[in-house]
């Protein structure tokens, strides 16, 4: 070194141009994802999803509570199915989207994908919770008990734990980027494990088959029941997109706030 290595000196280090409102992260990953574009797009989409949710929900409730006939075996209690089954579907759907978004976030470091995974978790947890509680409320009149260790109920319960683990890990770090990456890996690990857990619980259930269980959701389903089911599922899906867009917008703004705060601290 004394022998005179050429070396350019470090230039100005934080780019401090007025146009760059929030930290270096976005500047760097602009080529992959543009939260600004997402903000514009989501602002247009939110009202549409909100409207679709309200309309489909109203139609779904009408079909579910008025227009569909009572089941010949289960009577009126079958109406619980129209919230229970779509909620259970959404529980799976949300977990899948969370895993896919996490994978995109981890592989391509796509910030909007990371935020989508983070925003999906509480929604999925709520749907899972609803699937469990409505299942329990349906089980009481059908099976005479609030809870049976049925394979499906047990799997959904485990899924609920996976959501809780994801959210707990996400929140356990002082550095939000760190939490998102760790939770993303967990989401993928959980995603690989869900089929194994499902299989093991099925296996376990056949070993310990409780005698009194009436199997839910018979093999055939009448169209008079299918329509409310599908409409409610559509309503829940639109609801998911509505809320997830709102939450991702919130995440983007939160990261802009963090960028500004860091600039206040570090100049």
């Amino acid at each position: 070194m004394d022998d005179g290595n050429e070396m350019s000196e470090a230039g100005p280090v934080v780019r401090d141009r007025p146009g760059e409102r929030w930290g270096g992260r976005w500047n760097v990953f602009n080529r992959y994802a543009n939260p600004t574009r997402f903000m514009q797009l989501s602002a247009k989409l939110v009202p549409w999803f909100a409207g679709a949710t309200v309309l489909l929900m109203a139609a779904g409730l009408y079909f579910a509570l008025f227009a569909s006939p009572p089941d010949y075996q289960q009577g009126e209690s079958v109406r619980i199915m129209y919230v229970h089954v779509p909620a259970a579907w959404m529980a799976m759907f949300c977990y899948t989207s969370m895993a896919v978004a996490s994978a995109i976030g981890l592989i391509w470091r796509h910030p909007v994908a990371e935020m989508t995974a983070k925003a999906t978790a509480p929604i999925g947890a709520c749907f899972t919770f609803l699937a469990l509680v409505t299942g329990s409320l349906w089980g009481k009149p059908m099976w005479g008990t609030w809870w049976v260790w049925d394979a499906r109920l047990t799997s959904v319960l485990v899924l609920f734990f996976l959501y809780l683990g994801y959210m707990a890990l996400e929140n356990a770090f002082d550095d939000p980027a760190r939490g998102t990456r760790a939770a993303g890996i967990l989401a993928l690990v959980g995603f690989v494990n869900v089929p194994i857990i499902k299989f093991s619980v099925d296996w376990w259930n056949t070993l310990h088959q409780p005698a009194s269980v009436v199997r839910m959701g018979g093999p055939t389903i009448d169209s008079s029941m299918l329509i409310p089911l599908l409409v409610m599922a559509g309503a829940f899906t639109c609801y998911y997109f509505w809320v997830v867009l709102v939450r991702v917008r919130g995440e983007i703004i939160a990261s802009r706030i963090r960028g500004l705060r860091l600039r206040q601290v570090h100049g």
């Binding site: 007025p18 409102r21 409730l61 509570l65 008025f66 009572p70 009577g75 009126e76 209690s77 109406r79 619980i80 919230v83 229970h84 909620a87 509480p122 929604i123 709520c126 919770f129 609803l130 509680v133 409505t134 409320l137 349906w138 009481k140 009149p141 609801y239 509505w242 809320v243 709102v246 939450r247 917008r249 919130g250 703004i253 939160a254 802009r256 706030i257 500004l260 705060r261 600039r263 206040q264």
Partner: protein, 66 residues
């Protein structure tokens, strides 16, 4: 009137059906409102911060000029 009563009774399953629907509505609405409120408050916070930031930028530029 009678149809309303039979509707509400739900063939004797009222105690299960209405809690199921009510709880679902409650959870979904609370989640929605919480998400919307979170977004609003962050938007407001960002707005404040940006104003401070612009103000500080203007001031430092003015100082640099003098």
């Amino acid at each position: 009137m009678e149809t309303v009563v039979t509707f509400v009774e739900m063939g004797g399953y009222a105690g299960y059906i209405w809690p199921a629907y009510g709880l679902s509505a409650l959870v979904l609405i609370v989640l929605l409102l919480a998400s919307l409120r979170g977004l609003r408050s962050r938007e407001a916070a960002l707005h404040d911060l940006q104003r401070q930031d612009d103000f500080a930028a203007v001031r430092s530029r003015r100082r640099a000029r003098t």
